[in-house]
Amino acid sequence: MKHLLSAADLDRDAAVSVLDVAEQMAATQQREIKKLPTLRGRTVVNLFYEDSTRTRISFEAAAKRLSADVINFSAKGSSVSKGESLKDTALTLEAMGADVVVVRHPVSGAPHRLAHAGWIRGAVVNAGDGTHEHPTQALLDAFTLRRRLVGEDRGDSSLGQDLKGRRVAIVGDVLHSRVARSNVLLLHTLGAEVVLVAPPTLLPVGIGSWPCTMSYDMDGVINGDHGDLDAVMMLRVQQERMNAAYFPSAREYSRRYGLDAKRVAALPDHALVMHPGPMNRGLEISAEAADSARSTIVEQVANGVAVRMAVLYLILSGENS
C-alpha cells in the first residue's frame, strides 16, 4: 500500500496481513536485541500538529526498532506557530528526503491533502486527523482483540485469522471520534459486528449507512439486547462538550453511559474492556473497570508499537516504495 489514510484503505486480506506481520514484530520485541535492520537508511518524519506524546512515541519507537532514521516535528514553537502553511512544511520535509510522513493534524482530511496535493513524493500515514480517522489505532485495537479472543480461544496462534462473528460495542462521543470511525470500518472489514452506543446528540446524522447498529440504551446493550458482547470499547468524552449542550452534565452522562463496576459485572465473563486513552477516570470509565483483569488498556499501548512497526514495514518495503 502506498499510503494509510483511512481504515477503509485495507480490505480483509490486507488487514489480516498487517495483523500477522505485527505478530512477528511483537515476537522480535520479546528478544534481548529488539532492533531489526529492515528499514535502515529510510527516513520517517513524525509531523505532529497536535500534542500527543503517546502516539508520537509509539511511532518513534516503531521506526527506531526497524533502524529507520526518525525526525520529529511538532507544531509548538516551530515554524507552524509562526504561520507556515501545511504546504510549505511539506515542501521542506520533501527537501529533507522523508520516505514516509506520519501526520497528526487537527483538521479532517489534512493527511489526504498531504498525500494527494503533489507536495511530497513519500508515503503518508494518518496518525489521527481531526474527527475523521485514526487507522493505526483501529489496527492495534483489532490486534488486541484478535490476540485475546481468537488466540486464547483456539489455544494456538491467531495468524491468518480475522474477527468473524465477534461483537464489539463502542460507547461514547461517536460524533467527534476518529477512533470510532476507523474502528467501525476495520472491525466490519474483519467480520466483526459493531454496535454504537451514545446519546442521540453524539451520533452523527447520516450514520444510517454505516456498517453497524446503534442504540441509546447502554444497559440494554451490555445485557445482550444486541447479542452477547465480546468487548466494550469506551471512547473519551470531553468536558467541553457539556458547554455545547451535547449532554446536560458530567454526572448524567456518567450515569447513563459510563462503564462502572456494575455494568462491568453484567458483561459476559470473557468480554474485554478497551479504551484508546487517555481516560477520564470517573467520567466515561470507572477506576474499577479500567483496572480490572478484563481491561486491555495497558496492552493496547504495547501492541501499538508492534502494529506501527508492521505498518511502516509494509509501507516502506516492497516494489511500490
Binding site: 484503505d9 490486507a14 536485541i33 531489526l36 516492497g318 516494489e319
Partner: protein, 204 residues
C-alpha cells in the same frame, strides 16, 4: 497466504506475496531430482552432519521458511534414527534482515521459533532448500547474531545452483546443480506441494 488471494480494492493494497509459490511447473521444465534421490541425499547429509560434529551434541537445526523448515524437520528425524538422540529443530525467518526488500514484491514475514535451549554456545545448522546468491544466508547470519552467539554456524542445503554473489558456501549439499541465471529452480516437498521433486525451468 497464497498468491491467489489478491486484493481488489481501488487503493491498490494487496497482501504480501509468499517467498515461494506452490504452482505447477512450466511446460518446459525438467525434473532433476525425484523423491528417492531426495531421500538419499537427506540421509547422506544427516551422516555428514554427525561426522563433522562428532555426534549430535550441541546441535540445533534452524530451517529457513518455508521449505527449509520442513527439510530441517526431516533431517532431525534422520539424526534421531541414526544417533538415537533428539536434535532440537526450529525456524529462522530472515525477511527483516534482507538487503533487497525494495526490489521485490512485499514479502510475508514467516515465524521465527528458536528452541527453548537458545543458540548460545550451540552449533547451529542452517537448513534451506536452494543456495543461490548467498544473500538469504547472509541475512540469516545477521538474524542469528540478534538471537545470540552460537559456537559455530554450518549450512546444509538440498540444492546448490551456483552463482554466488557473496563469499558464502554450504557445508553439506544434497546435489550440485549447474544452472544458468535465466533458469528457475523449483523445489517441491510433500508437506507443502504434495510430492517430492526438484525441477529446472526456463533458460534455453
Amino acid at each position: 497466504m497464497s498468491s491467489a488471494q489478491r486484493a481488489t480494492d481501488p487503493s491498490g493494497t494487496s497482501p504480501p506475496s509468499p517467498a515461494v509459490s506452490p504452482a505447477a511447473p512450466a511446460p518446459d521444465a525438467r525434473a532433476v531430482l525425484e523423491a528417492a534421490e531426495i531421500s538419499r541425499a537427506l540421509s547422506r547429509i544427516a551422516h555428514e552432519v554427525l561426522e563433522r560434529n562428532k555426534g549430535a551434541g550441541g546441535l540445533i537445526l534452524l530451517g529457513i521458511p518455508t521449505r527449509g523448515v520442513h527439510l530441517a524437520r526431516r533431517l532431525a528425524r534422520r539424526l534421531a534414527e541414526i544417533e538415537g538422540t533428539e536434535v532440537p529443530v526450529g525456524a529462522l525467518d530472515v525477511t527483516m534482515h534482507r538487503d533487497d526488500l525494495r526490489r521485490q514484491p512485499i514479502r510475508a514475514i514467516g515465524a521465527t521459533n528458536v528452541p527453548a535451549e537458545g543458540i548460545d554456545d550451540h552449533v547451529v545448522v542452517l537448513v534451506d532448500d536452494v543456495l543461490y546468491s548467498g544473500r538469504t544466508i547472509r541475512a540469516a547470519l545477521d538474524a542469528l547474531s540478534d538471537l545470540g552467539r552460537p559456537r559455530a554456524v554450518r549450512l546444509a542445503v538440498l540444492v546448490d545452483r551456483g552463482h554466488r554473489e557473496l563469499p558464502i558456501r554450504a557445508d553439506h549439499v544434497g546435489k550440485n546443480l549447474p544452472t544458468s541465471q535465466l533458469e528457475r529452480v523449483r523445489v517441491h516437498l510433500s508437506e507443502v506441494d504434495g510430492e517430492d521433486s526438484v525441477w529446472i525451468e526456463g533458460g534455453s
